[in-house]
Amino acid sequence: MVFKVLWGFHPRLAVGPSLLKLIHTTVVTKKKNVQASRQESYTEDFIKKQIEDFNIGKRHLANMMGEDPETFTEEDVDRAIAYLFPSGLFEKQARPIMKHPEQIFPKQRAIQWGEDGRPFHFLFYTGKQSYYSLMHEVYGKILQLETHRGPLSEKTDSRDLIGSRWLIKEELEEMLVEKLSDQDYVQFIRLLEKLLTLPYGPAEEEFVKRFRKSVTVQSKKQVIEPVQYDEQGLAFSTSEGRRKSATAQAIVYQHGSGKIRVNGLDYLLYFPVTQDREQLMFPFHFLDRLEKHDVTCTVSGGGRSAQAGAIRLAMARALCSFITEDEVEWMRQAGLLTPDPRIRERKKPGQEGARRKFTWKKR
């Protein structure tokens, strides 16, 4: 007796081979999505374990490098990893890193409600509780200030806001651990600006400072060479510069008559082309000190234009020691202190040059 089950029908007995039908069933196979194997959310235990592993690993690393595990800082960790796993990859983020799990795993939210199911935050049901509670707070402050505003309202000047900028949307999202839309962000900044137009006190200032980030003035990072003195007591300063494959070393004297010597030759002889000489004169021309400094420099490598650019950078850097900070900032903004990152692009296989392809033949 053969039992066969047909879809949707009552199971019946098969009578004979003539009634035996081959039932074709489609087997649906689910292709496992390999990318989705990475967890969307990480449990707290997992994160804790990762932190423990990180701390143990840090101690091992300190032992390996022969340093004290107790005083092993983040920078030491980075240096150790760069030493032990040297990588020639260009992309800095693709190189091996060892950072605290809080910096690697994205921040998540714990469960927002208690055992009885009641949410903790009074704006939970809006969906964006942190953002809306922030808006509520700021609006409350504005109302308070508006009611307390006297008839003669002296506006406090924005003295502390000059060297800072508003947090960008991504930074705010990170702070609130919530997704925001562009309109939300714009509304929030508008509210804060409105708060700043009212006469605010130190408490409000403190509150607003949380959403401002100080803009690091780039020129502060500029390394200014120390002034040196040679045997005759003349003040000079020396510095290096590079452009493409040319390296140059320049010595700029504080007092002089505007002579420039390159590799023992006068720059008029070394650079016959006017353009190169103009490049050399540019830093001095920019600061109106054309005939006030003497320069002696050595250069090697590269072509004429690269050598000129290298010397220019070296001279500008050396000149920083003799000028004011404002002038340094102006030079930086003019681009005189920025090394030009452009280098020769490599030739690729299958092509004639870096970009030039072989002649295309239709047939």
Binding site: Q112, F122, H136
Partner: protein, 291 residues
């Protein structure tokens, strides 16, 4: 799940849960009762309905015997409603057809709401709110009027309840399990201080609450639709004085109910501890205090 329908029938008989007449005819009783249970299947049922404990059932059943257990009638009067300008409606052209029963008349083109009816509806609504708060329900204040958004949020925070006066995302109530998490608890009562949104259309939450079987209390102005709201309160929703009054009333009712619950629990805890002491030492039991 078994005791739940029984409790609900008791609630209905006690007159606490009042279904509007036209809804009652539409759907039969038992089906409606069970529908709410079905949607809540996956959510952890709050422990209020454990009738095994006698004291627990006394805490929950005693308030239902009275028609106004929390004495919400004393919180307002027709005169106080009048002084808060609750009777002022919109112009006759804005009138909604279903609000006609609640309108007293029309003066110089402006509709005047019948405060006698408002007082009755307000008493029922406040009583229901207080009962929900007493039973530790989640109350959500909803409004889309930007003028009073801050006030309503502050009111909700002061009561220890929740507010939503912002842009209402589509599936907030109907698709909450996806938006928040699988074990989220939905509000047990939604209070609308403004039933319309910024484009003078009914707020989406009115329809969604009806879909999710969540009872609603709402202040309906003369241009609003009172149909889907369980406990409509015909009244003015545009004047600041009126909204301040309503916020104050809701806040007082909720705080009173919570305070009462704390008192009842403390009382019964005291009684149960005394009872256990009494049975242990076999001394004469003290007279139990009436609430």
């Amino acid at each position: 799940m078994a005791p739940a329908p029984a409790v609900l029938t008791r609630l209905l008989c006690a007159g606490v849960w009042r279904w509007p007449a036209f809804l009652q005819k539409a759907t039969p009783g038992p089906a409606r009762l069970n529908a709410r249970m079905v949607t809540r299947a996956q959510v952890p049922v709050v422990s209020e309905l454990q009738d095994g404990d006698d004291l627990q059932s006394r805490i929950l059943d005693v308030p239902l015997q009275h028609s106004d257990f929390f004495n919400v009638k004393e919180l307002f009067s027709v005169k106080s409603l009048f002084e808060a300008r609750v009777h002022l409606g919109h112009k006759a052209g804005c009138r909604h057809r279903f609000m006609e029963p609640y309108i007293f008349g029309n003066r110089l083109g402006q509709d005047i709401i019948d405060l006698e009816q408002t007082a009755q509806h307000l008493q029922l609504a406040l009583n229901f709110t207080a009962h929900v708060a007493y039973r530790k329900g989640i109350i959500l204040f909803v409004s889309r009027n930007r003028q009073f958004s801050h006030l309503i949020e502050s009111t909700a925070r002061d009561c220890g309840e929740y507010a939503h006066t912002r842009y209402f995302k589509g599936g907030l109530l109907t698709n909450a399990q996806l938006l928040f998490g699988p074990t989220v608890r939905l509000p047990d009562l939604i209070i609308f201080l403004h039933t319309l949104n910024n484009v003078f259309e009914p707020h989406v939450a009115v329809r969604d609450a009806a879909k999710m079987n969540i009872p609603t209390v709402g202040i309906v102005d003369t241009n609003c639709n009172p149909c889907l709201i369980t406990y409509p309160i015909p009244g003015n929703d545009d004047s600041p004085q009126a909204i301040h009054l309503f916020c104050k009333l809701f806040r007082t009712a909720i705080n009173r109910a919570k305070e009462k619950r704390r008192q009842m629990e403390a009382l019964h805890r005291l009684q149960s501890s005394r009872g256990s002491e009494g049975s242990g030492t076999s001394s004469a039991p003290d007279k139990s205090q009436c609430p």
